[in-house]
């Protein structure tokens, strides 16, 4: 049995610190999520455990972390369902050459650069229980991800969702996330298959069968939710509970198939009906409790696993700076170059690159999976968390600097038809800040 007093105390402290630091970051025009990610690190061994080790050991005894982790994982499962819900496959179709090229380059450029960096980091930050291929592929997937919800929220806050920059950025981020998660699923299967009696082909076949059944079978049954919403203007609590149950069932299926809970909930969200008002309605019902209560627990749990003290000495800090540099050059530079080559004006191309470089919470989710399956070491995990924080933190000020609103709003393309459908994409907190 968990020590209930400890658990409640932990939740109270985490909520208070996350709200406080999140609000503080809002005053710097930063998305709340950046502040909450930072708050998680403050609560971990990097600060609290360093300056007050006894209080830290009292508040977060190692025996209690399993319960905190379980609660935070439930939050991330629901969050991934909401992320999937926000992705509209129709946005990925009929994209211009610019969007297709930019989205693919925004994956391949950071991926290849990360693999190149892996050649240097593998002998220094990994060990012989992890193969180079797994290490390099994971680094690639982790560096090529974009925080779709944060990006959508930043665009929404700046009224840029309907601009050319906004539509291309949303399409690219959606492609990146779907691709990133597919690659990650493949890596997890590879790693887990090495330790299981089941053949990798049976595992892959099972996953493929599950995905086909979901996309070509379950997806059509889910339209009933949208029909009910259209008819009554709302969805009953029973149906909302059913939706949640389906997300959890899908999560359990993917976990059982040998990948991870999160892939199932993401897939269930992705195949849900995409009518904008319906999406907004479901997001409104789920996101308050998820984003204000459960995700801060995930940030705290991530913070408890992040020990900046492991990034010790000039050599380790050099590795950390290299990771941040490569991640930024690959994502920002790659997206910008592709957009520019596709004919996008320089400022807009730079703005797109900056937006694509936002990693936020999605990066933390991937990194936690990497640490769980031990494909990355604790020190590398801490460096990558710093990279995620840095790249997310830099987005708003850099975007404002190189791409002021007044220049972007002049763009007339696709505004009317895209504006309505994209409104539902952004996850937000109760005060309207980005998740």
């Amino acid at each position: 049995m968990p020590d209930l007093l400890t658990l409640v105390l932990q939740i109270a402290v985490i909520l208070a610190v996350c709200r406080l630091v999140g609000s503080l970051f809002r005053t710097f025009h930063q998305p709340r999520v950046v502040g909450e990610m930072f708050a998680g690190i403050l609560l971990g061994p990097s600060l609290l455990g360093w300056i007050a080790p006894q209080f830290s050991a009292y508040l977060f005894p190692s025996s209690s972390l399993g319960f905190l982790n379980a609660l935070s994982q439930v939050g991330v499962v629901i969050f991934m369902f909401l992320v999937g819900l926000g992705i509209n496959p129709k946005e990925l179709k009929h994209q211009s050459h610019a969007a297709v090229l930019t989205s693919h380059v925004s994956i391949t450029a950071p991926f290849v650069l990360a693999a190149l960096l892996a050649l240097y980091l593998y002998p220094k930050l990994s060990d012989d229980s992890v193969s180079f291929t797994n290490f390099a592929l994971f680094m690639g997937a982790a560096m090529s991800i974009t925080a779709f919800p944060v990006l959508a929220r930043i665009l929404s806050e700046r009224d840029l969702l309907s601009s050319r920059l906004g539509t291309v950025a949303i399409a690219c981020a959606a492609v990146d996330d779907v691709t990133g998660w597919c690659i990650l699923a493949y890596i997890v299967v590879l790693i887990r298959a090495a330790h299981q009696a089941t053949s990798i082909w049976i595992t892959l076949g099972g996953i493929l069968l599950f995905a086909v059944a979901m996309i070509y079978g379950v997806r059509f049954l889910l339209r009933g939710f949208e029909r009910t919403f259209r008819k009554h203007g709302e969805i009953s609590e029973n149906l909302m509970a059913l939706m949640l149950l389906l997300a959890l069932a899908s999560a359990l299926c993917t976990q059982r198939l040998g990948i991870h809970l999160l892939f199932g909930s993401f897939l269930m969200g992705a195949i849900m009906p995409k009518e904008a008002k319906f999406v907004r309605y479901v997001l409104d019902r789920f996101e308050t409790i998820t984003i204000t209560l459960l995700l801060p627990l995930f940030f705290a749990f991530t913070g408890l696993r992040t020990n900046i003290g492991l990034v010790k000495g000039p050599q380790m800090w050099t590795y950390c700076l290299l990771i941040i540099f490569v991640a930024t050059i690959g994502k920002l530079g790659g997206s910008m170059a592709a957009a520019r080559l596709s004919g996008m004006p320089l400022r807009e191309a730079a703005g797109l690159g900056t937006l694509m470089n936002t990693r936020g919470l999605m990066e933390l989710v991937i990194l936690n999976i990497g640490l769980d399956i031990k494909v990355i070491s604790p020190a590398l995990f801490s460096m990558m968390v710093l990279m995620a924080l840095f790249t997310t933190f830099m987005t708003t000020p850099v975007l404002e600097l190189i791409c002021p609103d007044r220049l972007l709003r002049r763009d007339p393309t696709r505004a009317e038809q895209q504006g309505v459908s994209l409104e539902g994409l952004a996850l937000k907190t109760s005060d309207g800040s980005a998740a």
């Binding site: 297709v100 050649l119 002998p123 330790h195």
Partner: protein, 167 residues
């Protein structure tokens, strides 16, 4: 094929397909790179408790039942702690098959008779990477105590969890 389409195809080949080929090359080259020996995980520690107890700072550790070292590895460096034993902050390094760590006893551990604040212990061990499970043999000594004879130990690595990112 129109001019725009041709440009798109050329750009796509150069910016997407060529990097993918490069990625295949990187993965191929990476196969030959050797990473440090894995010491991550829990090691069951076997040592002579009487010999260890005679060392300054050794009594607390000698009194610990089922002694186990917990190593959290990040490449060539690691953090070391005792699973059931006294709290200790210890960073170490791995140089080939040689493992070195310096242990700084916590305040409560330093209260042990004869230990004293600021005293440090050194752990040096040689890993046998070919044994299954992996094993190491080494010595635990007290710094600044030339008259103290080091306590010899050997340890076996517990089986890795099933989700390890293996080959």
């Amino acid at each position: 094929m129109s001019h725009t389409n041709r440009n798109f195809v050329i750009a796509y080949v150069l910016l997407v397909l060529v990097p993918l080929v490069a990625l295949a090359g990187i993965l191929r080259v990476g196969h030959s790179i050797k990473a440090p020996i894995s010491v991550d995980g829990t090691w069951n520690l076997h040592l002579d408790s009487a010999q260890l107890g005679s060392l300054p700072c050794g009594k607390t550790l000698a009194a610990t039942p089922e002694k186990a070292l917990v190593v959290s590895q990040s490449g060539e460096s690691f953090v070391l702690s005792f699973a059931n034993g006294p709290r200790v902050a210890s960073f170490g390094t791995l140089d080939g098959a040689i493992l070195r760590a310096s242990l700084n006893p916590s305040a409560t551990w330093a209260e042990e008779t004869g230990c004293g604040a600021g005293r440090r212990l050194s752990l040096v061990a040689t890993i046998n990477p070919s044994s299954k499970p992996r094993s190491m043999a080494g010595k635990l000594s007290v710094d600044d105590c030339p008259s103290c004879s080091p306590a010899e130990f050997y340890a076996f690595q517990q089986a890795a969890p099933p989700s390890k990112g293996g080959h």
